[in-house]
């Protein structure tokens, strides 16, 4: 399994991780090694098997529909890198028309 630079950049963009051009080739080698490991699965016959998404085959209880969370806006905003007037601040997202 080989990855092109372009593919790697696309994956990195999907993951929203900036990858510097100079580290692309080393990263590619590492990822290709790991992808090679996955080829071992091709030998397994899974035609009769259902996908296992979870180790537990148990039903879970449903809790009462009651509000259990308190309003902790101030508490939660304490960890925000940037906040103002009870809101998280981020760079401008919506461009205005003049």
């Amino acid at each position: 399994m080989s990855l092109s630079d372009q593919e790697l950049k696309e994956i990195a963009y999907l993951a929203r991780i900036n990858v510097k051009d100079e580290s692309l080739s080393a990263l590619k080698v590492e990822l290709e090694e790991i992808l090679k490991l996955f080829e071992e699965l091709n030998e397994a016959d899974t035609s009769e098997v259902d996908a296992m998404s979870h180790p537990l085959d148990l039903s879970q209880p449903v809790r009462k529909d009651e509000v259990t969370e308190k309003n902790e806006r101030e508490e939660l905003l304490k960890n925000a890198p940037s906040a103002k007037s009870g809101l998280f601040l981020v760079p401008k997202v919506i461009e205005g028309e003049g």
Binding site: I11, E30, L37, F38, T46, A51, M52, V90
Partner: protein, 484 residues
């Protein structure tokens, strides 16, 4: 009396009889941390003031004769468990300034039993690693030989218990992160059945595999704390809807007539002869105790490593998407726009191994590859689980080495991810199948300890601990501690 040598039940008796106070015991451990941890780096935060307050409250309860079950006993918590108002970093720059607004259920349960938190232990970043070299807060050293790694990801928890800087520690295990460091540091580590211990407030890596547990000096100590941590939690939808099991009642029962399965596929692998010898000696001990040894086959076990390295990264790529530099944690400087904020925050906030796994997971889940990788891996995961189900029709526990060898030198495997991943070759299958597994010390090679793994059927932690305790009642490996 050397306070740092006492087992948890000895501590409890000492506190009850008034031989020493929790304040004395806690201060003793804090002094040891102060003296030795600069070298070992097993703690990210030491919470001295908090600990001494808890100890004082415990002493008061002993005086009033209304002490809680584990009252006044110190513990270290892996820095993956959120603790309200106290730094919780998960070993990452991304959370290097994060003070959780709430506490993990595990912390709260142990707090309610009176346990005293000494601090938060170092770990591989977001629990991804097998050597504790990926932590943003620096690598942890193995107390048996400081050139060597303590294992990971719960390397800080293992190192501090082994160096007697804490009598016991919490830990988590996604592919071996409790059992492998326990093995490399000469300790007892147990990962219970998936869902036994609440994951609420335990920072997520791979949600269908992550499970909390304990690293301790003996099966008896581990049983006491694991029991206190277990039980249904309405705040975790994947928590088993069962009461905490009684893990101590049957500890001393004989294992005579019970069956130990040896998976031939594990022993067909190339393992060093010293590992093989230690395991054979352990088997001989069990035979003497009346256990029957049976060969079992886990024919799809070789699929475990590739299955794990698809499923765990896939789940991690989804779980770690929450770290975006907006609501908490690290944010890059002077972002040009929102995209730049995301891209650079994640580039700078995550270390190399975490990014590698996010990228692999993103790839495995991306359009065009989902069926070939993720779906295929989920089907193969079922095959691995089926093999265990079949094997447990005939045996009580399955025995194997925990790791392919003893600890290795820092830096030895950091440039080869696959070589590092092979550390978990024996431990990963239990996570895939959601089964309980433990590691106990069973030998030594060149002054470094070595562990054996016991995997049990679903919900059979008590039986696993019974096997471990019966071994420890007849051998001395678990009593050996490093000189620091």
């Amino acid at each position: 009396m050397e306070l740092n040598k006492l087992s948890l039940s000895e501590i409890k008796i000492g506190l009850e009889k008034g031989d020493f106070t929790s304040t004395e015991l806690t201060s003793h451990y804090l002094e040891r941390i102060d003296k030795h941890d600069e070298q070992l780096n097993s703690f990210i935060s030491v919470t001295s003031d908090h600990a001494l307050e808890q100890a004082k409250a415990a002493d008061q309860r002993y005086k009033n004769e209304d002490a809680l079950p584990l009252d006044g006993i110190p513990i270290a918590h892996k820095d993956i468990f959120c603790t309200k108002g106290i730094l919780t970093t998960c070993g990452s720059r991304m959370l290097s300034n994060f003070e959780s607004p709430y506490s993990a259920t595990v912390y709260e349960k142990l707090d309610k039993q009176g346990m005293v938190m000494l601090g938060k232990t170092n770990m591989d970043e977001f629990a991804m690693g097998s050597s504790n070299e990926t932590s943003f807060f620096g690598k942890v050293k193995n107390p048996w030989n400081q050139d060597y790694v303590p294992g990971g990801s719960s390397g800080g928890s293992a190192a501090c218990v082994s160096a007697e800087l804490a009598p016991v520690a919490t830990a988590t295990d996604t592919g071996g992160s409790i059992r492998q460091p326990a093995s490399l540091c000469g300790l007892t580590g147990i990962k219970p059945t998936y869902g036994r211990v609440s994951r609420y407030g335990m920072i997520a890596f791979a949600s269908s595999l992550d499970q909390g547990g304990v690293i301790a000096r003996s099966a008896e100590d581990a049983a006491l704390v694991l029991e206190a941590m277990s039980g249904h939690d309405p705040k975790d939808s994947t928590s088993l809807n069962l009461d905490a099991p009684d893990l101590t009642a049957n500890l001393n029962d004989s294992i005579k007539g019970m069956k130990i399965g040896l998976p031939k596929e594990f022993f067909d692998r190339e393992i060093p002869s010293f590992v093989e010898n230690s395991i054979e000696e352990a088997i001989a001990v069990y035979k003497d105790l009346g256990a029957e040894i049976v060969e079992v086959s886990l024919k799809n076990i070789n699929l475990s490593l590739p299955v794990y390295y698809i499923i765990a990264p896939a789940e991690c790529s989804a779980n770690l998407s929450r770290y975006d530099g907006v609501r908490y944690g690290y944010r890059c400087e002077d972002p040009e726009n929102i995209e730049d904020l995301f891209m650079r925050t994640r580039e700078e906030g995550f270390g190399a191994e975490v990014k590698r796994r996010i990228l692999i997971g993103t790839y495995a889940l991306s359009a065009g590859y989902y069926d070939a990788y993720y779906l295929k891996a989920q089907k193969c995961r079922q095959l691995v689980a089926n093999d265990f189900n079949e094997a447990f029709k005939n045996v009580d526990v399955i025995l194997s080495p925990t790791t392919p060898g003893t600890s290795f030198k820092a830096g030895e495997k950091t440039n080869d991810p696959i070589e590092m991943y092979l550390q978990d070759i024996f431990t990963i299958p239990a996570n895939l199948a959601g089964l309980p597994g433990l590691s106990i010390p069973c030998g030594e090679h060149n002054g470094l300890p070595l562990g054996m793994q016991l995997v049990g059927n679903s919900l059979e932690e008590a039986k696993l601990l019974q096997f471990a305790h019966s071994f420890q009642s007849n051998t001395n490996w678990h009593k050996k501690m490093p000189n620091i």
